[in-house]
Amino acid sequence: MSNENNGLLIESEAYISYVKRRKKFILKLALFHFALVFVFDALAIFEPTLFALPMWPGSIFNIGLIYAFVIIFSVIASTFYYSHRINQEESKFTESLNQTERTSS
C-alpha cells in the first residue's frame, strides 16, 4: 500500500469507525477488570466479614474465594472473547477496505 493510499486510509470512514469501535471495546474490557480488582481490594479491606461468608450454609468456600475465582475465569473468558471479537473487527475492516478499493478501481 502506498503512502498516498495510507493518507486516504487514515481519513476513510471505515478506518475511523474501526478505530473508535476497537478503542471503546478495549477500554471497556480493561476498565471492567480494573474495577473487579478494585472492588476485590476494597471488600477485602473494608468488608472482610462479607468475604468470609460461606457460599451456602456449612460450605468451606466463602464469597472471597469464589470472587477471586470469578476474576480469574473472567480473565480467561475475556481473552477468548477479545481474540474472537478483534478477529471479527479486523476481517470486517479488511472487507470494507477491499470494497472501497474495488469501487474506486
Partner: protein, 548 residues
C-alpha cells in the same frame, strides 16, 4: 564464529576456575534425582544453545530470534518468563503462611496479563523492533527517551537479576548439596553461555522447555495433593483450616494487609509492573506480526491463569499436609529451610524423593531460564538503546552492536555473580519489590501514554518518567522494607511497602501536565505525528510504508 569460540573458551575457564575457587567442603546430602534431572536439563539446553548459535547471524537473529517464533511458542516462553521462582516457590510459600491474602498477588498477576493482551501486545509489536523503547520513542525525541527508558529498564533488571541469583544460590545450597557460591556460579555461567551464544533463539527455547516442565510438574503435584483428599477441594480446604494456626481465618482476608492503600498499591504494582517488564515485552518482537503477538499473549494468559490455580491448590494442600509433620515443619508455619521450600517438601510428602528431585531441578531451571531472559534484555538495552541509538546515533555496524551486547551480557553476568556472592544471607525481599514497583511507576505509564494519547510529548515523557523513577525509589528506601528491615530503624518514614499508588499517579500526572503545557515546535510536530503512529500501531503491515 571466531567470536563465539573466544567466548566459549573464556566461559569454560571462568566456569571451572570459579567452581574450583568455590569448592569449599559442603556436608549436605546430595539429592541424586535432583542432580540427574538438572544435568539432563543442562545437556538439553546446551544442545539447544549450540543449535541456536548456528542460526544466529544478524542483529535481528540475536535480539528477536529473527522474528521466527510462532504465537504458540512465544505464548509458552512468555508464560515461562512470568512463572518465575518467585511466582512458584514464593507464592506457594505465601499461601502456606498467610492463606487468603496471597490471592491479592494471584489475582493481580492474572489481570496484568489481560492488560498486556488488550492494551500493549499488538501496538508494541507494530511500533517497535527490538526493545520497548523503540515504541515509546516512535514519534518522540529519540535521545532523551532512550536514555530514560534504558535507565528505567536497567533499574528494573539489575535488582531482579540479583534477587534471582541469590535465590538460586540458596536453593542449590538446600537441595543439591553444593555450596551457595557454587550455585551462583553455575547459574551465572550457564546464563552467559545461553545468551552470548544463542541469543533470543536459545533463550526462548530454554524458556519453553522450562515452562513445559514447570506446568507438567506443577500439575502432577496438584493432582497428587488432591488425590490425598479424594479429589475434593473442599475437604482439602477444611483440613488446611483445621491445622493452620490461623484456623478458619486462613481462608479470610486480613493476614497480610489491613489498609486499602497497601492492598491497592500492591495490585497496581503487579498489574503495571508485570506489564512493563523489559524482558517480557521484548518477546513480542520475536513473532512475525501483530496477530501472532496477540495470539501469544492470549496463550500466555491461559497458561498463567491455569498455573495460578495450581499454585493455590499446592499452597493450601501444603498447609493441610505439612503443618504438624515434624519431618518438614518445626511447629506452626515454620518450615525447615524456609517457606520458599514448601513446594519442594510437599513433592517429597506426596511422591517421595524422586519427585522431590524433579521439582527441585525444575525450580532451579526456572531461575536459570528467567535470568537468561533478563540478561539478554539488559544487553539489548545497553547495545541497542544506549550504544547504537544514543552514543553512535545509528551509525554503528550490526557486528559492532552485537559485540557490545555480548560484552554487556558477560559483564552483567560477572557483576551479578559477584554481587550475589556478597549478598549471601542478606534479606533480598527489597530486590524483588523494586522491579515491579519501578516498572509500574515508569515504563507502564510511558507506554500507555505514548501509544494511546496523541497529546503526549517528549517533555511530558521525560518529566513523568523521571518523577516516577525518583519517587518510587525514594519511597521504597523510606518504606518499611529498607528503612526498617535493612537500615534497622524502628519506624518507617513512609508507611507502605509498595508506593505504586503514589508514584504511578505522579508519573501519569506529570506526563499529562508537562505535555499539555508544552508549546514548543517539537511538541507540535510530535502531536501531528500521532494519527500515523496510531494507524501503524493498529494495522501493522497494512500501513508498513508509514514506518519510512
Amino acid at each position: 564464529m571466531k567470536i563465539i569460540l573466544k567466548y566459549f573458551v573464556t566461559l569454560y575457564f571462568l566456569f571451572f576456575s570459579g567452581l574450583s575457587l568455590a569448592a569449599e567442603q559442603v556436608d549436605r546430602p546430595v539429592n541424586i534425582p535432583a542432580v540427574i534431572t538438572f544435568v539432563l536439563f543442562m545437556v538439553l539446553t546446551l544442545f539447544i544453545t549450540t543449535w541456536a548459535a548456528r542460526r544466529t547471524h544478524s542483529r535481528k537473529d540475536y535480539y528477536v530470534a529473527g522474528g521466527e517464533i510462532t504465537g504458540l511458542q512465544n505464548g509458552f516462553a512468555i508464560a515461562g518468563d512470568t512463572m518465575s521462582a518467585a511466582s512458584f516457590l514464593g507464592l506457594v510459600g505465601l499461601v502456606y503462611i498467610v492463606g487468603f491474602d496471597a490471592i491479592y498477588f494471584i489475582v493481580s498477576l492474572v489481570v496484568s496479563w489481560l492488560v498486556v493482551l488488550i492494551l500493549i501486545a499488538e501496538r508494541l509489536r507494530n511500533l517497535g523492533s527490538y526493545t520497548f523503547a523503540d515504541a515509546i520513542s516512535f514519534r518522540l525525541s529519540r535521545k532523551p527517551i532512550r536514555i530514560l527508558s534504558a535507565s528505567c529498564a536497567l533499574a528494573i533488571m539489575i535488582p531482579y537479576l540479583l534477587a534471582q541469583l541469590v535465590a538460586a544460590g540458596s536453593l542449590v545450597e538446600g537441595l543439591f548439596g553444593f555450596s551457595y557460591t557454587q550455585g551462583v556460579i553455575i547459574v551465572g555461567v550457564l546464563m552467559m553461555i545461553y545468551v552470548a551464544f544463542g541469543g533470543m533463539m536459545a533463550t526462548t527455547w530454554v524458556q519453553i522447555v522450562k515452562a513445559v516442565l514447570l506446568l507438567g510438574g506443577g500439575t502432577a503435584l496438584a493432582l497428587a495433593v488432591l488425590y490425598n483428599f479424594s479429589f475434593d477441594a473442599g475437604a482439602m480446604l477444611k483440613a488446611a483450616a483445621a491445622v493452620h494456626p490461623k484456623g478458619s481465618e486462613l481462608l479470610q482476608p486480613g493476614g497480610l494487609y489491613t489498609d486499602f492503600i497497601s492492598a491497592l498499591s500492591l495490585s497496581l504494582a503487579f498489574i503495571g509492573g508485570t506489564a512493563a517488564m523489559p524482558h517480557v515485552l521484548m518477546r513480542f518482537f520475536t513473532v512475525p506480526n501483530a496477530v501472532q503477538a496477540r495470539h501469544s499473549a492470549a496463550i500466555a494468559v491461559g497458561l498463567i491463569s491455569y498455573f495460578q490455580i495450581i499454585v493455590l491448590i499446592i499452597g493450601f494442600g501444603a498447609v493441610a499436609l505439612l503443618i504438624n509433620n515434624p519431618e518438614f515443619s518445626t511447629g506452626g508455619t515454620n518450615v525447615i529451610g524456609g517457606s520458599n521450600l514448601v513446594a519442594i517438601h510437599l513433592a517429597k510428602y506426596v511422591a517421595g524423593d524422586i519427585f522431590m528431585g524433579f521439582i527441585s531441578a525444575v525450580a532451579f531451571a526456572t531461575i536459570l531460564a528467567v535470568v537468561s531472559g533478563i540478561t539478554l534484555s539488559a544487553g539489548a538495552t545497553v547495545s541497542h538503546d544506549l550504544f547504537s541509538n544514543v552514543i553512535r546515533k545509528d551509525k554503528c555496524s550490526e557486528a559492532e552492536e552485537l559485540l557490545i551486547s555480548r560484552i554487556t551480557v558477560v559483564a552483567l553476568g560477572i557483576l551479578g555473580m559477584y554481587l550475589a556472592i556478597i549478598f549471601e544471607g542478606q534479606n533480598v525481599a527489597i530486590l524483588a519489590t523494586l522491579p515491579l514497583a519501578i516498572g509500574a511507576s515508569t515504563n507502564f505509564p510511558l507506554l500507555i501514554l505514548s501509544m494511546y494519547w496523541g497529546g503526549f510529548t517528549t517533555r511530558g515523557a521525560v518529566m513523568g518518567g523521571s518523577a516516577g523513577l525518583v519517587l518510587v525509589v525514594t519511597l521504597i528506601i523510606l518504606g518499611p522494607n529498607v528503612w526498617v528491615k535493612v537500615m534497622g530503624y524502628e519506624k518507617a518514614i513512609f508507611p507502605y511497602a509498595y508506593p505504586t499508588l503514589f508514584s504511578m499517579s505522579v508519573c501519569f500526572l506529570f506526563g499529562w501536565f508537562f505535555s499539555i503545557t508544552d508549546k514548543s515546535a517539537r511538541a507540535i510536530k510530535e502531536r501531528e505525528a500521532f494519527p500515523a503512529q496510531l494507524a501503524l500501531s493498529q494495522l501493522g503491515e497494512n500501513v508498513s510504508a508509514l514506518k519510512n
